[in-house]
Every structure is written in C-alpha cells, then in structure tokens.
Symmetry: C2
DNA sequence: CTAACGTACAACCATGTGGTTGTAGATCAG
DNA sequence: CTGATCTACAACCACATGGTTGTACGTTAG
C-alpha cells in the first residue's frame, strides 16, 4: 500500500493513470505527451507497475500500458475507512453531548 | 495533492492519521507508540501537517494533533473519479460490442 | 527558584528519488 | 539484409527523505 500511495504522489504518474484508464497506451505514445525523456516516462511507468496500478503487455514491438482498477479501488476503500472512523468519532461525540445518562448536573466545557 | 499522497505513502504516517481520527493525541503520546525517536515522529507529524491531513493546536505545554477529514475526503474523491473514468470506459466498450449501428459487416478483433 | 516535561529545530548520514545520457536488444518496414 | 522504431537498463547527478543525536526554549510541578 505504501507503493500505491507513493506512485500516486506524482502529478505525471497520476496523469498517466488517468490516460490509460480511458484507453491503454504504448510507452512511447505516453512519453510523447510529456516534456521529459523517454527513459523518465519509462521509470514512472515502472513505479506504477510495481504498485500494481498499471500492467504492461507486449503487442508487437510495443508495450501497451493498461490500468488496474482493482488497486485503485483498494486505495479508495482505505481512505473511505478512514472517513468512517471520523464519522464514528463524530457520532460518539454527538452522543456524549446529548448525554441522556444519570448525572447531568455539571457542564464541563462542552465546546 | 502530491503532498497528500506522499504523506499517506508511509505506514507510520497512515497509522498516526488513523489514531488521531479516532481521538486527538499529543505528539509525545504518539511518539510513545512507535519504536523510533521523538524527533522522527515529530517529522512525520510535520509531513502530515504540510499535507493538511492533520492540524496542531497548543494545549498547555502539549501540542494536540487532530485529523482534517476534508483533505482525506478530497483524496478519496480523486480516486473515485478515476474509478468513474474506468467505468465510463467499460461502458463505452460494452456499447461498441453491442454495436447497433448501420454497418455491422466487419468483425475486426473484438477481444 | 529548580527540575522535569513537551516541543522545536539544526546538523548529520544513508538511502531513495526524479531526472539525464548512453548503450543494447527486439521488432517492423523496405 | 539495412535502417528505423520501441523498449529496457545501467550509470550518473542533484536533491529529498527518514532516521539519528544534540541543543534550546516554554510550561508545569514541587
């Protein structure tokens, strides 16, 4: 999971993910889109590949890069779980504030 | 957004986020949870703070670390948008395969 | 007041990162 | 076959990262 977020922590790599989500592209076509060397784009793709965000498959002498939506979904689900923790906390605080227990005599800083 | 994903690309930092989502903690309490120096934990908190995933507020001589669920939600929404791109692509492919247009005479590699 | 605590920050080091260039292997066009 | 294309990978560099230790400052306890 470290690798997934690290892979997504770069604008170029997120852009590559977005492009190949729409339609698979060869490495050289991708490289043409950015103002950096072919090798640099190749490295970015390698990072995405190690994080299992994309997969490559040979097609003649080209290498087609496709997205792996499963990994993307796993990352999204993790963040969703974090949000649920937050909502759970908010709910717990709300319950404390509504406080329908026995002793409601003291009002200690309820801001 | 680079900073957000970079901040999440570390197990310790994700754990800190999870802890302070449940309930805010002081830096020293957090530091006690991990087998690394206080300064190291402090740096991790600083990374999370720069990514606006957490905020700090003084409370006496302590510094309470709290989560910022908005930033978390933004990241989650970006990944959701990626998933929608994928679903859109799947839908487009499905439409091409159902192909109820005029010319259905040629079957060019539909795998 | 002094001592202990919580924090901040600088300096340092090993390692990883993003970028470059260069070289070499497959594959397609002619 | 030869030459052009697509890819892979190594070497290198500047810089950021994650970790350490040490020092300094504000705050609380006694």
């Amino acid at each position: 999971m470290d690798k997934v977020f690290h892979a997504l922590a770069d604008k170029t790599r997120r852009d590559i993910v977005q492009r190949v989500l729409v339609s698979p592209q060869s490495v050289s076509v991708l490289a043409g889109e950015y103002s950096m060397s072919f090798a640099a784009v190749q490295k970015h793709v390698a990072v995405l590949e190690r994080a299992r965000l994309v997969t490559k498959q040979k097609r003649g002498r080209e290498q087609l890069v496709s997205a792996d939506p499963d990994t993307l979904r796993h990352a999204s689900q993790l963040l969703d779980r974090y949000e649920q923790l937050w909502r759970h906390r908010v709910r717990a605080i709300a319950e404390i504030l509504s406080e329908d227990t026995d002793n409601i005599e003291d009002n200690k800083e309820q801001s």
